[in-house]
């Protein structure tokens, strides 16, 4: 109490002085955070400020401070370019396919694993399914290329054995197959690891509920429908919101690595790979930054909307 009133009568100058006194007194503590904050400023905040270059004609010699401002020129250019519809279509279609197939896959795996009573069998399966997550996309794309190759590709060998085809198909050079290959490779890589969250959520369901259902004569399928799935809906919704916010991130490394064949560009170009191609490869920095900024703005809007919807039904991220 006394302290409070003393603080109140302290003049502005005194308080300022005491701030520095306190600051100096904990300088060793401040030194623990200052270098990290400087790094965050340089590598996260400067690029955020740097997106303003999408309103400039960025010139590599003039740099950020000497490049002319051009308003929305690059945004207009992107919306008017023939690439726009193609890139948007691919981004949205690939994302929806991921939501439709890639999103439920680990949930189904988790539910199925939960039905396995044999602990060791379950452990072995889980160990196997985690492995691809820790391989780089370079390796995974290499494996995919090998399996799908015309030269000793296992898929072609299999199809030939069953006389389904007469000569090997070069799967990675046919646009019609690309989306399927991309989605399956993604599921192959991440299904096991993504399932962990759902396995943990299922483990949190009260076992007594299952026992009670068994006594009532519920089948396993019924228990899944009425206990397991409702029990993990909360987690599913949270991840769903995040997935919706990410809808314009249809993939990057996987697409760069799997769609190397130029004939695939029409079906493989998504916003992120497009930014990379025009920005880094063709050095059209301002244009690429504008496309990137367009993506960020839409993403933030989508995340906010998805969260608002989730809040309406009683669950939200923040």
């Amino acid at each position: 109490m006394k302290k409070d009133s003393m603080a109140a009568v302290m003049s502005h100058k005194d308080r300022k002085k005491s701030f520095w006194v306190r600051y100096i007194a904990q300088i060793d503590l401040q030194l623990m955070v200052i270098p990290a904050l400087v790094l965050i400023f340089i590598f996260s905040y400067l690029p955020m400020y740097g997106v303003l270059m999408s309103f400039q004609d960025y010139d590599i010699f003039g740099g950020f401070f000497h490049s002319p401002w051009v308003g929305f020129k690059h945004f207009k250019m992107f919306f008017d370019s023939p690439d726009f519809w193609n890139v948007m279509r691919n981004t949205i279609v690939i994302s929806f396919l991921r939501l439709l197939i890639g999103f439920p896959a680990p949930i189904i795996l988790a539910i199925i694993l939960n039905e396995v009573a044999h602990i060791r069998f379950k452990k072995v399966i889980q160990t196997i399914s985690y492995l691809p997550h820790f391989l780089s996309w370079v390796i995974v794309s290499g494996l995919a290329m090998s399996i799908l190759a015309t030269e000793n590709g296992s898929l072609n060998i299999l199809l030939e054995k069953f006389n389904l085809i007469n000569e090997p198909i070069n799967f990675l050079s046919i646009p019609n197959y690309f989306w399927g290959i991309l989605i399956s490779t993604g599921v192959w890589k991440e299904i096991g690891f993504s399932a962990i969250i759902y396995i943990a959520a299922i483990a949190g369901i009260n076992p007594e509920v299952y026992e009670a259902a068994s006594i009532d004569g519920a089948t396993r399928l019924k228990k899944i429908m009425y206990i397991t799935i409702p029990g993990i809906t909360g987690v599913i919704i949270i991840f769903m919101i995040l997935a919706v916010g990410d809808i314009l991130s249809a993939g990057f490394e996987d697409i760069l690595l799997l769609a190397k064949n130029p004939v695939l560009q029409d079906v493989s170009d998504v916003i992120d790979t497009y930014v990379y191609r025009v920005g880094i490869k063709n050095s059209r920095f301002s244009y690429a930054a504008a496309v990137g900024l367009f993506k960020s703005i839409i993403s933030i809007a989508l995340l906010t909307i998805a969260n608002a919807v989730a809040r309406k039904i009683g669950r939200s991220l923040w």
């Binding site: 996260s44 955020m48 199925i112 072995v124 390796i139 494996l143 930014v275």
Partner: protein
């Protein structure tokens, strides 16, 4: 009775499904191991699936004799060790500072960190800034921009906040400053969290090919994943356009029985060995760090 029967069928289906799935998980891997141990020219004839037809170690010999590949392997090891050590040390120190309630500016620093989790400038501005900083074609571009991970900081901080207060109190009474308390008291009891985050950071460093592919041009600074990526894309090109780039041509040595495909497979496996070696440790720790790990995705 009907219930029991339908349940039995259900269980059988589940086991069949899981076994098929595991097969599909392992087969591509096993197939590439087999191809890497089979004579390249023989593989080109087709039909190599579960077992090598003409066993050979030649493919591996070529990889291990290839100076560029070995230098790539070394660069990968260096960046993984140095990158992980610096990043985990700096992030842990940062987190310890942030865990102290009397830290002046704590709230603002935290907001500053959280904003970076939702907004980012994106690829192009980051690229130009690294370029301005002179990180182009430097080993350090693979280390410095990734030193501080806000995610890891938050995880460390949560862990430090849960430590019993008495522990640090006694150190204070003994006259230890924050830094000494951190290194002599806090670090020794933070083993599991340090191990978990280090393993994830190390896997990230080992697997990252993209950073080097846009910032590094000197061949002697290329990590193995980036070299491998160049070889894989030149394969595609050679299949399509009958031309190979310098990286692949050099790699295709003068050995006669070796083909690009067999070499690619053996290189891929060499690049995967370190992951397989730390995988058992990963497994042990990541059950603790699962939530963290998945949320990082």
């Amino acid at each position: 009775m009907r219930t029991i029967n339908s349940d039995r069928i259900f269980i059988i289906l589940i086991y069949v499904f899981l076994i098929v799935m595991s097969f599909m998980m392992l087969y591509p891997f096993w197939n590439s191991v087999v191809i890497s141990f089979n004579t390249g020219t023989d593989t080109a004839l087709g039909g190599i699936t579960f077992w090598p037809r003409e066993f050979t170690l030649e493919n591996y010999k070529v990889v291990f004799q290839d100076k560029r590949m070995m230098s790539g392997f070394l660069i990968s090891v260096l960046r993984t060790v140095i990158g992980t050590a610096i990043s985990i040390t700096c992030t842990a120190i940062f987190a310890y500072g942030m865990s102290k309630k009397h830290l002046i500016g704590r709230k603002y620093f935290m907001i500053m960190c959280i904003i970076t989790m939702y907004f980012s400038g994106g690829l192009i501005p980051a690229y130009l800034i690294n370029r301005e900083l002179g990180l182009m074609d430097s080993f350090w571009v693979m280390v410095i921009p990734n030193i501080i991970s806000v995610w890891n900081m938050i995880i460390f901080r949560t862990f430090f906040l849960e430590l019993p207060e008495g522990l640090e109190e006694s150190a204070k009474i003994d006259g230890c400053g924050n830094w000494r308390t951190f290194f002599s008291i806090v670090v020794p009891i933070s083993g599991p969290v340090i191990a978990t985050l280090s393993l994830f950071a190390a896997v990230w460093h080992w697997n990252d090919w993209f950073t080097a592919s846009i910032y590094i041009t000197s061949e002697h600074l290329m990590p193995i994943q980036t070299l491998l990526q160049q070889i894989l894309s030149s394969n595609i090109m050679s299949e399509q356009m009958m031309q190979t780039n310098a990286a692949a041509q050099g790699h295709m040595a003068s050995m006669q029985n070796v083909t690009t495909k067999s070499l690619t497979m053996s290189t891929m496996l060499v690049a995967t060995i370190p992951i397989l070696l730390i995988y058992p440790f990963l497994q042990k720790y990541f059950t603790k760090g699962v939530m963290i790990g998945s949320m990082k995705e």
